[in-house]
Symmetry: C2
């Protein structure tokens, strides 16, 4: 434990990112573009200016990289979502708005992570995949709790399907990259998501 080491699981040192963080970020970008299976260890290395095997100084293997990437994403979503919803007070409309703002913000800020998150879950070892799915499920339940109060007559299954549909809507950002500038995109998605989440 040196003095400069951080809790790499949660906050990346954005000023002068450690090699480890550089690798994770570059890998996320490449994985998003081509899919994790199509990206070689050498590619990831080259993207940060080292050779392939150098990766093994920082990660146990390619799988471990992907696992940490997906776990972090799921954790950030769950933590951020929970935080925002409690900060929004007791009004379910305000809570929904807070969740939508958060998800839109995250999707616009990290399109690559969004892409990898639901494309490459299947390439994970069973244990890691289960862990990620657990976190995802908890995040979904945060949404479901809010949606259930907005739609008292809907059963939980319907709320869950509704939540997934709103995710799909917001997470479409990687598909419409460069169409609109960020504020316009955020406004459009927020409006659409609120309408979709509220209708009926």
């Amino acid at each position: 434990m040196t003095g400069t080491e951080r809790d790499t699981a949660l906050h990346a040192d954005v000023d002068r990112p450690s090699r480890r963080e550089q690798i994770l970020q570059a890998a996320a970008q490449l994985f998003a573009e081509r899919g994790s299976r199509a990206v070689g260890v050498d590619d990831v290395g080259a993207a940060v200016g080292v050779t392939g095997p150098a990766i093994y100084r920082h990660f146990a293997g390619k799988d471990a990289m992907l696992a940490e990437m997906l776990l972090r994403i799921s954790e950030r979503l769950l933590a951020g979502g929970s935080e925002r919803v409690t900060a929004a007070g007791a009004d379910p409309v305000a809570q929904l708005r807070a969740l939508i703002d958060f998800q839109v913000e995250f999707a616009l800020e990290n399109p690559a992570l969004i892409t990898v998150h639901d494309r490459d879950l299947g390439s994970l070892a069973d244990a890691d995949a289960a862990q990620v799915r657990r976190l995802q499920r908890r995040y979904v339940e945060v949404w479901v709790a809010v949606l259930a109060r907005l739609h008292p007559t809907s059963d939980p299954a319907a709320c869950r399907a509704r939540a997934h549909a709103v995710f799909g809507l917001i997470n479409s950002t990687p598909h419409s990259a460069g169409q609109l500038d960020r504020p316009a995109m955020a406004a459009l998605l927020t409006g659409m998501a609120e309408a979709a989440a509220t209708v009926c």
Copy 2:
């Protein structure tokens, strides 16, 4: 050219599907579950009761299988979408409803194809990928034309982003599989999509 041969590019013989069709369908299922790169030729063969190399009697290779799969999907979407929108008359509201019904129907009927369609596009050879993207673009433009009449003040880029968001919403079905029965799911998605497409 024997007398029993059909135009395999567009209509599958659903009664007694040819081996070729069986393979494509099984491959779509497997690709959707694990991703095309993670599925071996032997797996696809086994799924239709045949060894791996037998595939090469029907396809030039694994890539050709995926290419045909994605091309067919894109063609079906474009053809179906165009057809429905002309059948809906001149009213843009009716046209939108027709497009949404079509997309919902397709997504609920073919969740595996939906998944493969936007997950494995990157594993295609450049020429095939370009062809698929061309078809996708034309399908998007069908939507954009309708959305533009509903939102006269929006520029085309905003309509395109809106179309992608609606696709994301509807194509979320693979993520909420088994939550609701088909009619309930269709009603929910249709309502949400209309709200999202119309708002503002």
